[in-house]
Symmetry: C2
Subunit: 271 residues, 2 copies
Amino acid sequence: MTPQDQKSIGVFDSGLGGLTVLREIHRVLPRENLIYFGDTARVPYGNKSSSTIIRYSREITRFLLKQDIKAIVVACNTASSYALEAIRELTDIPVLGVIDPAVRSLASEAPPQAVAGLIATKGTIASGAYDTSLRRNGGSQQLIGQPCPLLVPLIEEGYASSQAADLILRDYLQPLAERGVEYLLLGCTHYPLIAASIRRLYPHFKLIDSAAETATTLQGLLTKANLLGNAEKPVIDLFVSDMTDSMRSLKDLFFAEKVDRFEVAQVGDDH
Amino acid sequence: MTPQDQKSIGVFDSGLGGLTVLREIHRVLPRENLIYFGDTARVPYGNKSSSTIIRYSREITRFLLKQDIKAIVVACNTASSYALEAIRELTDIPVLGVIDPAVRSLASEAPPQAVAGLIATKGTIASGAYDTSLRRNGGSQQLIGQPCPLLVPLIEEGYASSQAADLILRDYLQPLAERGVEYLLLGCTHYPLIAASIRRLYPHFKLIDSAAETATTLQGLLTKANLLGNAEKPVIDLFVSDMTDSMRSLKDLFFAEKVDRFEVAQVGDDH
């Protein structure tokens, strides 16, 4: 058996957006080996049924478990909504989603009567997963959901800091500002890349970034379980289920650090 | 047997964008019964392999052939690039894609030395299908491809006539204007919905709309084959492989006319 401190942290997402979570984990825990799987052949998950999302998540979990990992981070809002329990049935190692860490931060930091905005994809807003998590975590804050369907394509096309993105951000965020929003949850793994524009346009919003909150929560969890790594030269391996040139550019957009491997791996029943 | 003039025209696309082609067909041929299939469960086709696109196209063709049709219009640029021959193996009725009609219009109308721009999705540009078609049709015009990945999401979100879309259109089209483009091929079924903005920003571009060209070509083809319909109250049926609220809004965006049916139908080996 490999000692715990050499084992990797497994991270997965429907695509490459979850690399913003990997980036935060690497920043907070720079001596951990990391393995990322992006299901780029089947992205996006947001418009798929819950049973399909659970099946895909279990396939990816089995792949990650073969790599000798000590924790799993589900860096995908959709899979975090539907598949955490199904993943936990497959393993005893810690499994962490991206929704609870952000929501717990809101529940503990914001006044009980505070109004918070949640920006996310249509699918995440429709799922009600953040509301459910907020109630489960004892938060009494008001949560106003705002779907922002154009932000992911704008970010992926390099338009995060553009006049066009500013105009569209105002369309999405002005109604929240007018309803007294003080806290803004970034409910999509892509959004850290547009956070600077949001801060510039709405400096009074207190941003809660689920990527950063998830990394901090993971750090606490590994510390408590005595599972912290101390790799001198941590290995970072990225796997995707499909590779194209545009995925190579997205990888650099979301995760500029050098990686040891970036290659295709197949998951699922046939493999 | 139903007489030819009662048979329907079958139209399919990976999603709902092909409804702009259906709309043009209905405008040009208002006495034809129409059946549309949108593969909304598997959209988009642009990032899938050619063998997958051929398999899906054949599944949909078999579904349409069961509905007693007299012609098939492949209202999808990706399927038009890869699957026309495979579809023709399944039937003797006329099969028409959206690429050749637009290209033939360019080849015959533009001077031999003219410079034409092609705006389309990344997948269509990368496929080289318009260049191939232009050479096959004897066109000597120069074709400059410009991928416009943000136009489909902008159109689908109702941003076709917005300041943000104008800014992004200028980014895409200004380089074409500077390279002497006179003709502009709209190489994506969504783009007729943003044509008004393009005309306003670049009034000297002569637009070639593949939806309109395809409808006119179909009209000529049916006339020549003596297959024109004369339904008093033509029936328009829309089928999709997956239905959500956002698909209902997209249907209205692309095809405002009343339809007789708009419902889910399954295609493929299991059905």
